[in-house]
Structures are given as C-alpha cells and as structure tokens.
C-alpha cells in the first residue's frame, strides 16, 4: 500500500515536470498571456482612476488600494488559468480518455498535476513580469501588513483549489454534453464578473453581494484580495477564511462523487 502510494507520487511528479517543460517550449503563449493581461490590467486601472477623480475614499477604499487590488487580481488571474475543462472535452471527444484511464494513476490526478505544472511555469514567466510591469507603470502593490501577507498565502492556495475543483466538477459535464464550449464561456464570464476579479463585491448592490457571499465564487478572488489590502478586521477575515475552507470541503466531496460517477460510464467508440 505504502509502496504503491510512493510510485504514484513519482508518476504525478513526472506529469508535473513534463508539463513544465512543455510550457517552456511554447514561447508565444507566454507573451500572448502577458499582452492580454496587460490590456485588462491597464484598462481596469485607468477606469478606477477616472472614477475616483474628485473622491478620496469610496466605501472605505482609497484609490491606491484599488490600484493594488487591480495588479494583484491580474497576477491571480494568470495563476488561476486551468485547462482541465479543455482537457476533458478533448479527451472525451477524441477518445484518448481511454488511454488516460489506463495509466496507473487516477484520471483527474493527471489533469491536476498538468495544471499545477502549467501554473508553476506561469509564475516565473507571467506572474512576475506582470508584477514588474504593474509596479513600474501603476505602482508597487504593497500588502496591508506582513501578517496580512502571511494570511494571504494560505487563502490563495485554498482559492486555487476551489477554482480547480469547480472547473473539474464542471468538466465532468463533458462526459454527457455534446458541445461544451458555450457553457465553458458562460462559466468563465460568471467567475470573472461575480468573484470580485474585476469589480469588488462592495460596489455591488447589497442584495446581490449578500447572495454572492453565500456562493463559492467570492472565495476565489475577493477574499484573498480583501486580505491583501486589509479591507476588514482580522476577526471578520478569519471567519471568512473558515467559510472558504468549508467550500473547499464541499467542492472536494462533490468532485469525488462526480468523478466516480462519470468514469464508470465512459464508453469509447471504435476499436
């Protein structure tokens, strides 16, 4: 048992390493991501600057905090790119899901470590350049305090897992749906708009932010960013991190259930 587990880790590490090497080979994707994220980052920063003309503080937030918010959010959205949906859609369409399932490690384990490998190479190739570009042209995104920075890290890791598990649960739909692309688009836009990625929750009407606070989306972007800029007091933030952990658990259970259900029903055509 113990031995089997050790072999699995080696296999996972191999998937992880291969993915990093593969990402390093495709240079254009890297520059493309930076260009795209810079457009979004600068447009958002100037949008806030224009809105804040004539105001010092709105909803307890200063314009400098909004700039920090924008840069850190841009860095996070690169960090949160997942391929699990595309991967599942393609393997189901082409039938390669069968060979993936033959491998001696769990199907979604392969996809997770591929995504993790991609994320790792993005940190060096994209997240750091965005940090430097943002710092030079917009302003250095300083965290509220060292303690908040320490709290930010576990919160981002949980956010990464929530984001990935949500994508993985969503991707199981591909085993039954014919064309997933429009749905993937809907999901992408819902997350971008309702998670605080571009516009923080506190600007939304109260009824809407109350609803959104119950859903998992805000625990992907909003909570880590709230922590980074020190929007709330420690007690409230820790309480929110509790809810974040709870969502992580719920999504994990859902993921385990869905994964078991769909892999049982895989039917590959052809011989």
């Amino acid at each position: 048992m113990c031995n089997g587990l050790a072999v699995n880790w080696r296999a996972f590490f191999y998937v992880y390493k291969t993915r990093i090497q593969k990402t390093l080979a495709y240079r254009f994707d890297v520059y493309g991501n930076i260009i795209w994220q810079c457009i979004v980052m600068f447009a958002t920063a100037y949008f806030w600057k224009a809105l804040y003309t004539g105001y010092d503080t709105v909803k307890g937030v200063q314009v400098e905090d909004m700039m920090t918010y924008t840069i850190v959010s841009s860095m996070m959205s690169l960090f949160f790119i997942t391929f699990v949906e595309q991967r599942v859609i393609q393997s189901v369409e082409k039938g390669t899901v069968a060979t993936d399932m033959l491998k001696p490690i769990p199907l979604f384990g392969i996809y997770f470590f591929e995504d993790l490998g991609y994320t790792t190479s993005l940190i060096v190739q994209n997240v750091i350049p965005i940090f430097i570009i943002g710092s030079i042209f917009i302003g250095v995104p300083v965290p509220h305090s060292t303690f908040m920075l320490l709290l930010f890290i576990p919160s981002v890791i949980m956010a990464y897992m929530i984001n990935w598990l949500f994508a993985a649960c969503f991707s199981t739909w591909a085993f039954t749906a014919i064309n997933m692309n429009p749905m993937v688009q809907v999901k992408k836009h819902l997350i971008r708009l309702l998670s605080g990625c571009i516009i923080p929750m506190w600007f939304f009407p109260e009824w809407l932010s109350d609803i959104l606070n119950v859903l998992p989306f805000v625990y992907i972007y909003q909570l880590p960013l709230d922590i980074y800029i020190g929007k709330y007091e420690m007690g409230i933030l820790l309480q929110k991190m509790g809810i974040q952990a709870l969502w992580l658990l719920v999504l994990w259970c859902l993921f385990v259930y869905l994964q078991k259900r769909v892999t049982k029903h895989v039917l590959v055509q052809g011989g």
């Binding site: 254009f28 493309g32 260009i35 795209w36 457009i39 979004v40 447009a43 100037y46 949008f47 600057k49 224009a50 809105l51 804040y52 003309t53 105001y55 709105v58 909803k59 014919i178 064309n179 692309n181 429009p182 749905m183 688009q185 809907v186 836009h189 819902l190 708009l193 309702l194 571009i198 516009i199 600007f203 939304f204 009407p205 809407l208």
Partner: protein, 271 residues
C-alpha cells in the same frame, strides 16, 4: 459591371442559405451560444452600471450614456462577427492551404473570404447589444428623428468596417510569419476595453494612438460623444459620425491592399 455585381450577390445569397441550413442542422449548438453570449454582455454591463451609479459618472458619462456607448460597441462587434470573423482565423487558412480553393475560383479572393462564410452565431451577440442599447436610449430619452436614425446607422456601418479592416490586417500577418498567429482573444479584449468605455479616461498619448494610429476611437467613442454632446477629449473632430464612416472605408481599403500584397506571399500547404 452590373452583371458581375448580380453574379456576386447571387453567390453570396446561396452561401447565406447554406449558413442558415447549417445552423438549423445543429440547433443545440446555436442554443448554447444564444444563452452564453447574452449573459456575458448583459452581466458585463450590469457590473459597469453598479459601479458608475456608486460614483455618479466616469469622465462626464452617466450610466445611461455608457449604456448607449456599450450598445453601439456590442452591436458593431456582432456585425463584425457575422461578416469578418474569418480574419481572426486567417492563420489557419494560410497554414492549411485553404486559399487554394479561393484562388482557383473566378472571383475576387477577398470577396470570397469575407462574404461566402457567414457566421450566424454572431446574431447571438446582436441580441444583448440591442437590449443594452435600447435601455440606454430610454435612460437618456434619445430622440428618434430621421436624422438621428441615419446617424446611428452610419456609425454602425463605419464601426463594422473599422473592426473588419483591423481583423483582416492582423490576420494578414500570417502570410508573412507563416504561423497561425491566433490573435482573436487579444483583439477582442483590446476592442472591448477601448469601445465599451470612454477613451477619454486613458492618458493622452494612448488617446492619440486610438485616434490616428489604431483608429478604434472612431468605432464608438467619438460618434457617440458627438451624438450625446459629451466632451470627447483633445483629439476629437467635428462631424465624428461621418468621420467614422470615412475612417471605416479608409481602414477597410488599406486592409484590402495589405491583404492583396500579403496574398502574393501565399505558398499553399506542402510537405
């Protein structure tokens, strides 16, 4: 001359018929986009509205006026998607040798490229565009005189040509680089950020670029600012509505020339 035009329009109509039949063959696919595209644009506008309501206005634009701007932007985006989306995918045509077929037929290659493949999925973008636009018109009590109606139509035609021309120019780069260069996503992001918001919120150097070098400012910002009588920055011209049409024609003619020159470098696909 008349004979040729008749022939060309007959060919286009035949292709339009095929496009409609294709869509009818896969209704579920269309239904998916019919759900996803409106959600994306309507939610996108809703978030802008919440924020601008909080602050009052952005660069002198209230949210009713922004809805008008956003509407023009999305409608012209939809029209450009219907007629010119191929520009985004020109790289695939170049690499896979698809221009062979066009070159063999006794018709203009550019004409065939633009007007023998109608992307009816673009209609699903048209619906949210019109919704937000009508909402904006109601908010600001836009008066629908004959003159104003003509102005809107002229703007939309000009804007569609500017977008289409830019897609073609970007796509033509594939003839020179011999690679796919799929810039679609970045182009869309850039257009979204510069046509859905007033460009007067950006620094003057960038406004200059958007006015003269990459004339995206004319797509929605300058004509809308003139129609609604809002201050429109340093580089504005009088008669912006007609200028949009002129700029549209110039950009498209330039794109046609660039396309023609680039086509000479076409080598077809080989092994």
């Amino acid at each position: 001359m008349l004979q040729t035009m008749k022939h060309y329009s007959k060919v286009s109509l035949a292709h339009l018929r095929i496009a409609v039949l294709t869509v009818m063959e896969y209704p579920a696919n269309m239904l998916g986009w019919l759900l996803s595209n409106p959600i994306q644009f309507i939610l996108g506008f809703a978030t802008i509205k919440f924020v601008v309501e909080e602050f009052g206005s952005v660069c002198g634009w209230g949210y009713g006026q922004l809805a008008f701007l956003y509407g023009i932007s999305v409608i012209s985006h939809a029209l450009s998607m219907i007629f010119f989306v191929q520009g985004w995918f020109m790289g695939y045509y170049v690499i896979e040798g698809d221009f062979d077929r066009y070159l063999l037929r006794p018709m203009s290659v550019l004409y065939q490229f633009c007007f023998t493949k109608f992307n009816l999925v673009g209609i699903t973008d048209l619906i949210p565009g019109i919704c937000v636009f009508v909402y904006g018109c109601l908010q600001i009590d836009y008066v629908w005189t004959l003159k104003n109606t003509i102005y809107i139509l002229v703007t939309l035609v000009g804007a569609t040509f500017i977008r289409g021309g830019i897609y073609l120019i970007i796509g033509s780069s594939s003839f020179w680089t011999k690679s796919i260069n799929d810039f679609g996503g970045y182009t869309q992001e850039l257009f979204d950020k510069t046509t859905m918001y007033p460009i007067s919120m950006y620094p003057e150097s960038f406004q200059f670029v958007l006015t003269y070098l990459l004339p995206i400012g004319w797509v929605s910002f300058y004509p809308t600012a003139e129609l609604l009588g809002i201050p429109n920055g340093r580089f504005a011209w009088d008669g912006a509505v007609w200028m949009t049409l002129v700029v549209g024609i110039i950009v498209f003619v330039a794109a046609a020339i660039i396309f023609k020159c680039s086509l000479k470098r076409y080598e077809s696909a080989g092994n």
